[in-house]
Symmetry: C2
DNA sequence: CAGATACATCGATGAATGTCAATGGATGTG
DNA sequence: CACATCCATTGACATTCATCGATGTATCTG
């Protein structure tokens, strides 16, 4: 039987394990947290999703264009030409932005008007800063 | 020769073109800006790249773990196990974060220590808010 | 020098994403 | 009703991305 099974002392060869690199505790210590992060896994997934919805040039431009448009709203056909993408692609990006909560969609007649959700960008910015 | 070529008046059928939906100007008006956005295209690409680097759960967790680690820095081997990904994958994500300017890398001996760049998250958060 | 450890890079593979043409549904017009 | 416009959805395709095993390099130890 190897000695290590009786006296599981950290060996002195330098390895990565934090327990090895830390000075040896003489008294019993509280069990170190297994995960050295304090971020809620669900919150991380959520924030990553919010950022992924923003992480595209066309979508950032869409947000800016909608916000700067007359009355704070714009319909799809207003955005196609300045964006330089096809109508299905523009609708696709708008759907992603609306799904993430950055835009609201209201249909009036044949047109679909998109409007920036107030404070939505500041909210995700705040989440980033407190990370 | 169609009349429209002599008198190019906007027709009355409702179409998307803003010029059609706007009230008809009686006086000559300054040419409307073609692009109803005022965002610098380069800045949009840049911000999208910064956000793309953040838009992944593993990378957000890495930022959090590095920031919360002892001394504000952590080496790769400290992050592999709590993250639950392989060492090449962890190195891959760290490289992306460092390339975007969120982390710095300093090699000391065999270890590579990563450290959060102070203010980098607040900077991108500020860019988001002023979008 | 031989072996072990930490880390990056390479290559391959499966998944996700962006884009457009084509289609379809809904609304308004003549 | 027939037709045009706006918009979303579908399907197909190419590109990008995430992941891991294998390999290579550098450093440290004995």
């Amino acid at each position: 039987m190897p000695v290590s099974e009786i006296l599981p002392l950290p060996d002195l060869t330098a390895r990565c394990s934090p327990a090895v690199r830390e000075p040896i505790a003489l008294e019993p210590i509280a069990p170190a947290p297994v995960a050295p992060e304090q971020i809620d896994p669900e919150q991380v997934e959520s924030l990553a999703g919010l950022l992924k919805a923003l992480a595209h040039p066309a979508r950032l431009r869409l947000l800016s264009m909608v916000a700067a448009h007359d009355g704070g709203e714009a319909c799809v056909c207003d955005l196609i030409e300045p964006l330089g993408l096809s109508q299905p692609t523009v609708s696709h990006h708008l759907k992603i932005l609306a799904g993430a909560g950055y835009l609201t969609r209201s249909q009036r007649g044949t047109w679909a008007y998109y409007r920036l959700v107030p404070g939505s960008l500041d909210a995700v910015a705040a989440l980033l800063s407190e990370l």
